[in-house]
Symmetry: C2
Subunit: 218 residues, 2 copies
DNA sequence: ATATTTTTTTAGACCAGACTAAACTTTTAT
DNA sequence: ATAAAAGTTTAGTCTGGTCTAAAAAAATAT
């Protein structure tokens, strides 16, 4: 049984390591969990003793198989709760993060099982991020940033790279949501902005930054 | 903003004081939150400094207006979550307590507002306990133990006094639930057990202990 | 190759919440 | 009325998680 704090560190390490691929540095973790490097060093020792990460001084932390599985279960809970908040309680998708951040630490396997069932076993959360299943398996589509696609391609919005509230608010303002169909009408050479058609209805320009942050399947 | 622990003490004090009427003793609190008297003394000082209770050495703690309002908001959250678990996630009413015990500490007024709406503004939880409204008001019926009623009376089950899982399991086994209609057919002088008719269908004997723990309206 | 800067770790301290052991009040029993 | 028992508080310690300041290691610049 891990504490609230331990789970948050583990989740941060998992995310920063891009799913367990790279080692992550003390300062990166400190930044990510909003604390100081000294505190991170302490916590790293704790997690290391529990075999959730492996750790080499001045080198960084790598997540272990066990650690990864625990991190995925926290992520699963987070994304199921986000789905619940948006689909059932009618939160808008930019309001859910902080609440889900609390709910993800509730300890009850039965609760999560029943919540999953209640939601109809969703495979992606409202931001389009995949929801790991009970065994930690994640279904992954080949996602590319909209900015990497080309004129005349048709695409479906699957996810956002960085879900900051202001970006999400912008998306809902212009009518883009997970599942929206997009056709690329033109690519402006000057500033790499895109002219797109949303759901065969709305024609609009979006900036290069926005296009890089929208993940699609073609 | 109170900590998880502070909220649990406050809730215990509220409950033990029967809604703020009596002062409660250190040992009672210790028993109730499963800790030692010395720890209670410390926490009492903290809550007292925050004006949530008033406190006199060797005498006991009384809850203040502020404390009562906070305790009621925790109870409100607990009961709304229990309702959600039973009505929406199909928990049985003896499985919900421990999970609700965790969920009640989630901090988000918006969440509770939306949950309340989602549930259709219920006034009682699955055990029949009243759910305080946003302002801490509780709707209260005149509840009496079934054991205090008399032969030939008709009654509706409204609540249980002590909702231990084994009692709740027993109730669901014999077909008693909140809202069930009960007619008292006979009172056995020997052991004060009752012969009752549930929903005009099932005739059964229940013990004096059970009858004392079932709260009804006539 | 050495000096400087950056990053990380250690040492020592603090706060919340818990505990044990001992001291002190209050209540109960004789 | 006094002794014993019961209940409560204080004093001191522990653990988890945090911090600052200083030391140590690694990376970078000259």
């Amino acid at each position: 049984m891990l504490s609230f704090t331990e789970e948050n560190y583990l989740k941060a390490i998992y995310r920063l390591s891009e799913g367990g691929l790279k080692a992550v540095l003390t300062n990166e973790i400190a930044e990510s969990v909003s604390t100081k490097a000294a505190s991170v060093t302490d916590m790293i020792k704790k997690l290391s003793n529990k075999n959730l990460i492996s750790y080499e001084k001045y080198y960084g932390a790598r997540i272990t198989r066990q650690g990864k599985s625990h991190a995925l279960s926290v992520i699963r809970k987070h994304r199921l709760w986000e789905t619940f908040l948006v689909e059932k309680l009618k939160f808008s998708w930019d309001e859910v993060h902080d609440v889900a951040e609390q709910l993800e630490h509730i300890q009850s396997p039965l609760l999560i099982e029943k919540l999953d069932e209640f939601l109809g076993y969703p495979t992606a959360d409202p931001h389009g991020h995949p929801i790991p299943d009970k065994d930690g398996k994640v279904q992954s589509l080949k996602l590319i940033p909209l900015s990497d696609s080309v004129v005349n391609k048709k695409a479906v919005v699957r996810s956002v790279k960085d879900g900051t509230p202001s970006f999400l608010q912008y998306l809902s303002k212009i009518g883009i949501y997970i599942g929206a169909r997009i056709a690329i009408l033109d690519k402006i050479e000057f500033d790499s902005s895109l002219e797109i058609l949303i759901d065969n209805k709305t024609r609009i320009f979006i900036s290069r930054d926005a296009a890089q942050n929208l993940l699609i399947t073609e």
